[in-house]
Symmetry: C2
Subunit: 600 residues, 2 copies
């Protein structure tokens, strides 16, 4: 049975004890990292969230305490009172914060015993993630996970301090709310009191934060759980956390400025990294043409080059047809890779772009004494010279071409660019490069639904100078939306919203909603906007991803205390699970068993 | 169509403009509280979240601006640039913060027009709450609601600052988790990926915060949404917010101390009220005997007096039988009410206690020249003298008696005490009286289930000196649980937990769980506790109720931006609602329609 701490007070976290405490009596409490029993000497490394300190039991320790110490095993929880002693010079451990000292134990309580844990409690553990998640409470004891969770805490705290200091009010919005038919799939919650009706868990507090602006709160802020019932990819969780904010009486510049201030303060306070403001900006169009993506990693070059005008009439049908069919031919000059990459490696790049729906990759290797390429035979000399000039080719370069519809060209070359950068190790891991992407298209054409849909959401405002095109040439209209990109990751996005009822009605019309449909979907927001709505805009940051990038992790699961796995289940609690039949009866819910059986 | 703010920057919130700004040009933005059109002069009261300032349009205003000003109506949203002018002495309004000045408009933009709102936007509005909740975005514009939501923001911010400064880490726990069969009814969320299985929304992060202690985080804190699918009473919401915390290596005193520090700082920073520490403490037993409740309002007296030993053999069978059947006879001396209350009012008190299952109320009015009472005829002189002495009766007093099982006596007299205090106006609204209730019983006997159940939850630790009774006399065991009471409201509660596996097993045995059942219900916690668990304890405060009491409101709905009504629906969004059949199909969910039809 575990001993009580009654009468004993912890005086220090383990690594708070320093050489300045030598000679003093201290009391520390924590877990046994390691025990070394040398017969007449027992060394215990005691661990708490601050780190580790060494405790010694020796000849000088009272007999009954020494005997108790012999029972100690890994992960036992101890309280130790003792004297701080400077280690002998040859026993100093420069790798430990407390490496110059140790505690000579005078009192020992075993607060809890422990079975041998199913994994080691140590940094950079190489172990199956499923085991880590099943025993998450053990996994979280590891120093890297402790640091990640502490970093996440600091990110949230700095965010709250900054936005509070700038007049933002944290206002809670409902978790049990109404299903909105646009967007991703909702998680639904059956109502016991209203049988057959359901709540939805929010995908974001979008409508509520706009209502808070209509309510005159002026500046709203919230760190809030959001929910999407999507098929999970590596970086998705069914529940995720947003740093969400909205401001009244603002235009794009105001939102950008306040958020640059936030990021600057965040990186300084949490990582002691200086970020320069203002951040670079790039229009959506420029980002796509130069990097093939709206979230470019601009820490390195390898930009896309449009060669369409050069090859539009060339003899290589793959190229000329692509241009004639409204697509394009673009290339990346992989500087110096011509010599570096073997034919096999080049072919592998060709296979790689096929993952992004390209039919293949054409290439030219520039050598000192000529070109090596499967396609040059289809091009005339002038075309070849023009291409080489346009991509600034030099001996040793590898030029990679993709020809297709723009969408495929951008996606294939954008990904190829990242792949080449990885292969060439072009990325500086220590660099944080921020970039605003602006002037997104307001609409995009949904080929399946054969109508324009909102690129962001139906409340995003068009740019003032493009409003005139909204009914006639919707594809030309740019919006007041902006994304914040960090090292090729979208970490935040938002927009200035439509606050004018008439413009909102036009917008719904362009999206193909009848007035009736618009009312059914967004009725209470439209109703609210009748009674005086300020111009407003906002942004939401993905806290999980932001914390992940700041912690230098590659999975958001490493910055979430209790994450779910790809099939949306929790390996520790076994959620979701079956429930008592009585609980379902109260909700009037039945599961369609036949259907389920067929699936399983 | 609303004008744009392009080119215009707000320089001040309305009430930030002061006499020091006289002569300066300022730009303010907000809603029209009131417009007075005197023909050649138009006065507009412009409102933002800071308050109101007066704007003047006059002869000196440009003609086209004056004409635009004539179109202004209530709740229009305006941007106004103009000069700050000191008002003439006879025009100064001492009731307004900005009453000495006004802005002479030089530029006016109508950012948004407004229809006439369905309610007045003013303080202390007397209007149907259903209307307020349907148009919540308008209701929230009212200055009292703005203040409430701002106060709530400050409460949360101060909580985070305090606990962060004291080494607590805010760690998010899952919203989609596993149903736990103990406790209230869960809200359930069907899983699309695992048909037939469901998540539960958490009733509290209890298990997760204990796991975080097992994980070595030492001090955890979170402001977190919790969910209970209960039938709503006045002060309940389906989703509510807790200030939740847990600490390792602590006993009761440590938890109490850190939380007294929190409350002291909270009241100082938010209300500028000095709270004295340490708070008073009272055992559960004492609270019940003196006040009939475990959340006594100790701002006034009217304490309960036990008369059982005096009347146990008296001739009044209602009294003597109650004692003989194991119950008690207790009284409240309503000082000075004998003269004040009419016979009708006394009878009304008798009816009042019946709401709390008392069969009735006996009474004695003490007059200068004798007693008036329907029961004295059944008592002998000595009994009467002993009673009067025990309750310190003086002429003018009204003694109110209830005789029954203890549970009923306590509940009826506890409530009667509050009722009398209300009638006598004994309560000082400005006083904040804090009180810890400690030494709760560990178990209570559930007559329906015919077994002992945990008074708090099955992880609450027994008091060290009572552990010996746990298997033999469970009703004698007091726990390390504590509630914090403010003015008769429970605002927080918690306990030191069991961290010893053997004691936890004994506890489950006492609760009548087989090992198998315990494992099924709390398996992952029990598993976690095998690997070294520190002594730990914590508390959770109800943020909604705390904010309500601090704001001086009588309903938690007044400190929640978007609350639900008694039937758990939202009058603004109409949630919960029916969803597309396709959404239910994806979840394999069917509603039992016949059953529903029968209900409706």
């Amino acid at each position: 049975m575990g001993e009580s701490i009654c009468g004993l007070k912890r005086t220090h976290y383990c690594t708070e004890v320093t050489v300045n405490d030598v000679g003093k009596e201290v009391t520390v409490m924590g877990w046994v990292q390691r025990r070394r029993d040398l017969g007449k000497l027992i060394f215990v490394s005691l661990r708490d969230r601050s780190g580790i300190i060494q405790v010694v039991f020796s000849d000088e320790t009272k007999k009954e305490i020494f005997e108790k110490a012999e029972k100690i095993r890994s992960e036992f929880v101890l309280a130790i009172r003792g004297k701080v002693v400077k280690r002998a010079d040859d026993a100093i451990n420069p790798d430990m914060i407390t490496g110059e000292i140790e505690i000579w134990a005078e009192e020992l309580r075993i607060l809890s015993t422990a079975e041998t844990p199913p994994m080691y409690i140590e940094e950079n553990l190489q172990v199956n993630e499923a085991l880590r998640l099943k025993y998450r409470y053990l996994d979280l004891r590891r120093p890297d996970m402790q640091r990640n969770i502490m970093l996440r805490h600091r990110v949230a705290k700095v965010a709250r301090d900054y936005f509070d200091a700038n007049g933002f009010l944290e206002i809670e919005t409902p978790m049990l709310t109404k299903s909105t038919p646009e967007g991703a799939r909702d998680y639904l919650v059956p109502s016991r009191v209203h049988p057959g009706k359901l709540y939805a868990l929010p995908q974001s507090p979008q409508l509520f934060k706009q209502l808070l602006m209509a309510a005159g709160f002026d500046r709203y802020f919230q760190i809030v759980k959001c929910f999407r019932d999507e098929d999970l990819r590596a970086d998705r969780q069914p529940e995720f956390t947003q740093i969400d904010l909205e401001m009244s009486f603002v235009d794009v510049e105001d939102v950008i400025k306040i958020n640059e201030g936030f990021i600057k303060k965040l990186f300084k306070e949490v990582l002691d990294v200086e970020v320069n403001c203002p951040f670079e900006r790039m229009s959506y169009k420029e980002a796509m043409e130069r990097f093939g993506t709206d979230k470019p990693d601009t820490r390195f070059g390898l930009e896309l080059v449009d060669l369409s005008h050069i090859v539009k009439d060339c003899g290589f049908r793959v190229f000329s047809d692509a241009v004639k069919n409204g697509g394009s031919v673009r290339a990346i000059n992989a500087k110096g890779c011509g010599g570096k990459f073997s034919r096999k490696e080049i072919d592998a790049l060709g296979e790689y772009v096929k993952n992004y729906n390209a039919k293949g990759m054409a290439w030219i290797v520039v050598e000192e004494d000529g070109l090596k390429s499967p396609i040059t035979k289809f091009l005339n000399e002038e075309e070849i010279r023009a291409i080489l000039e346009k991509v600034h080719a030099e001996p040793g370069d590898l030029i990679c071409f993709v020809a297709d519809k723009d969408k495929i060209v951008f996606s294939a070359l954008g990904e190829l660019r990242l792949e080449i950068a990885r292969k060439l190790n072009l990325v500086n891991d220590k660099e944080f490069k921020f970039l605003w992407i602006t002037e997104f298209p307001l609409f995009e054409y949904d080929e399946e639904e054969e109508r324009y849909v909102a690129k962001h959401h139906p409340f995003t405002a068009p740019m003032d100078e493009d409003i005139k095109y909204i009914e006639t040439e919707p594809e030309k209209v740019r919006s007041k939306a902006y994304d914040l990109v960090l090292n090729g990751n979208e970490i935040g996005g938002g927009s200035v919203r439509i606050h004018d009822q008439e413009l909102q009605k036009t917008m719904f019309k362009c999206l193909g909603f009848t007035e009736e449909e618009a009312k059914e979907r967004f009725g209470f927001l439209l109703e609210a906007f009748k009674y005086g709505t300020p111009p407003h805009g906002g942004i939401a940051f993905g806290l999980d991803r932001l914390a992940m990038l700041m912690a230098g992790c590659s999975s958001i699961r490493d910055v979430i205390a209790f994450p779910k796995v790809q099939n949306a289940s929790c390996l520790m609690t076994n959620a979701p699970d079956v429930v008592d039949e009585k609980q379902l009866e109260e909700l009037h819910v039945k599961f369609d068993i036949k259907d389920i059986d067929n699936q399983q």
